[in-house]
Amino acid sequence: MSSGTKLLTLSLAAILALGICLAGCTGTETPDGQAIPNETATETAAPPSGGAVLRIATTTSLYDTGLLDMIEDTYEAETGVDLLISSQGTGKAIELATRCDVDILLVHSPSQEQAFMDAGYGVNHRCIAYNFFQIVGPEADPAGIAGMDPVEGFRVLYEKGTAGEPGVLFVSRGDNSGTHSKEKTLWDMAGYDYETEVQGSGEWYIEAGKGMGETLVLASEKDAYTLTDEGTFLAFQTDLVLTPIIDQGDALLNRYSIIAVNPEQCPSVNIEEANNFIDWIISDEGKGLIGSFGVEDYGKALFTPLYPPECTASPFNCTCAESVSKA
C-alpha cells in the first residue's frame, strides 16, 4: 500500500510538471538562457546582444589550422572581449552573416566575398593574409603534371581523366566551400565549363561533399589528385600517402579576408567591437601573430600577412591596412 501511495504522488507530480511545462516550457528555459552562460563559460559572459561579445563566423579550413584559437586567446587576454568563433563552411558562414547571426565574417573566397559586399550585407572589407592552394596527388604522378603551371595541370588532368587513363582520378570537395570555388575557377581558367563539362564527366571525377580533411583522406585511399589548402594538408600529412604535385603559380593564390556585417542591414550587429577587432587584426601586432603561426608545429609559417603596397596590386587587389574605425 505504501508503495502505491508513493507511486500516486509520483504520477501526480509528473502530471503537475507537465502542466507547468506546457504552460511555460520555453519560458522557463529562456531566463536560464541568460543566467547559465555565467556558470558554464569560463570567459566573461555577457548578455547575447550588446556587451563585449563578438560573434565570428569562419570557414572550417581556416579554423582547423588552429590559428583562430591562438588569436582568440591573445585578443581575449588583451581586451577582455569575448570572441565566439563558429566554423561551419563558407556557404554556411556567409548565410549566418546575411541572417544577422554574427558580427564578423572571416573567409577565403574572393568571388563569394564580392557578392556579399555587392548585396550590401558587409562593410569594412579587409584582406589580411594569403597562402597557396596545392594540387596534391600520388607520388607516382600518373598524369605527369608535376612542375606544370596549375591551369595547364588541370587541363592535362581533365584530358587524361576523361580519356580514361588508368590512375588519373580527381576528388573534388563538392561542397561549395572556398576551396571548391577555387577549384571551379581553375577548371574555368583551363577552358572547361564546370557544370556541363566537368561534373558528371566520368568516373575519374569524384565529388566528395565533405570537409577538407575528409576529402584528403578519401583522395589518399583512392590514390587520387585533389586541391587542398596548405594548412589542412600539413595537419593531415602523416596520415596520407599524397604529396604536393603542383604548389606554385598565381592561380593557386588563397586570400583570406575579414568583413564586418553591415549594421544598416542588421541593427543587432556589434559594429563598434567588430571594427576594433578588424583594426587589431590588420595592425602590425595582429599580422605578426598570423605570420608566425605554424612555425612551431610545421617548421614553416602557414600564412603570409598582407601589407601595403603589395595588397593593392594584382593579384590581390584589396585593402589591407586602412583603419576601419577612423574611416
Partner: protein, 228 residues
C-alpha cells in the same frame, strides 16, 4: 588501426591528467543532454501514459506518427530550430542561437517522440496478463493504472535512457544550434567532429571513449536509483 590503440592510451591519459578542456566539454555534454532528457521526460512520460490509458479517435495514427519520428534526422531538427532561433527568425529576440540553452531546446524536441513512443510500448508490453489479474482482484481503475505503471518502470527507464543516449551521441543539432564554440557550446560530439576534420584521429577516438564512459556512468546511476 594504430590510431585506435593510440586513442585508448590518449583517453586514459586525458582522464588521469584531468585535462581541464576535456572536463569542461564533458561536463557541458552532460549538462546539455541530461537537461534535454529531463525536459523531454517531463513532457513525454505523462503524454505516453495519456495516449496509452485513453481511447480516442486517431490513436493508432498518433502512435504511428510517433514511431515514424524515431527516425527524425538530427540535422533537420537542428535546421528547424536554427531557423526559429536565428536573429531573423520568429524567436531571434531570445538570443538563444549559439547558446547551451538553444542546444537543450533542440535536443529536447529531438527525443520527445522517442521517449513518448517507447513509454506507450513499455505500458503495452506488460498489459495483457496484468490487466486480467488486476481486474480479477477487483481493483479500481486508478489502482490498476498505478500497478501497471509500477510494473512497467524498467521499460520506462529504458525509454528515458535511450532518449539520453540519442541526445548525448548526436552531433547534428548541437553543431547547428551550438556552433561548436570553444569554451561555450563545444560538446564531446562536436569536438570529435572538429578533431576528425583537423586530423587528430587518436584524440577523436579518445573523446569517443570518454563519451561512452560517461554514458556508462549515467546508465549505472539511473539503474541504481531505479532499484532502490
Amino acid at each position: 588501426m594504430n590510431e585506435i590503440v593510440q586513442g585508448f592510451i590518449e583517453a586514459i591519459e586525458l582522464i588521469l591528467s584531468l585535462d581541464p578542456d576535456v572536463i569542461e566539454i564533458t561536463v557541458r555534454s552532460l549538462y546539455v543532454s541530461l537537461s534535454a532528457t529531463f525536459f523531454a521526460s517531463l513532457v513525454a512520460l505523462p503524454l505516453g501514459a495519456y495516449i496509452y490509458f485513453n481511447e480516442f479517435r486517431g490513436k493508432r495514427a498518433v502512435i504511428n506518427l510517433l514511431q515514424t519520428l524515431y527516425a527524425l534526422p538530427t540535422v533537420i531538427v537542428g535546421l528547424a530550430v536554427f531557423l526559429m532561433l536565428s536573429r531573423s527568425g520568429p524567436f531571434g529576440f531570445l538570443g538563444m542561437l549559439f547558446t547551451p540553452q538553444g542546444m537543450i531546446v533542440a535536443q529536447t524536441i529531438l527525443i520527445i517522440p522517442l521517449i513518448t513512443g517507447l513509454t506507450v510500448s513499455a505500458l503495452s508490453g506488460i498489459d495483457r496478463e496484468m490487466r486480467y489479474t488486476i481486474i480479477s482482484l477487483g481493483s479500481s481503475q486508478l489502482q490498476s493504472i498505478i500497478t501497471i505503471l509500477r510494473e512497467a518502470r524498467f521499460a520506462i527507464l529504458a525509454a528515458v535512457l535511450l532518449g539520453f543516449g540519442r541526445a548525448i551521441a548526436e552531433v547534428g543539432t548541437v553543431m547547428l544550434i551550438g556552433g561548436n564554440i570553444r569554451g561555450f557550446t563545444r560538446v564531446l560530439t562536436t569536438a570529435i567532429a572538429l578533431n576528425t576534420s583537423m586530423g587528430n584521429f587518436s584524440f577523436s577516438i579518445a573523446l569517443g571513449i570518454i563519451l561512452l564512459g560517461v554514458a556508462l556512468v549515467v546508465n549505472v546511476v539511473l539503474n541504481l536509483v531505479q532499484e532502490r
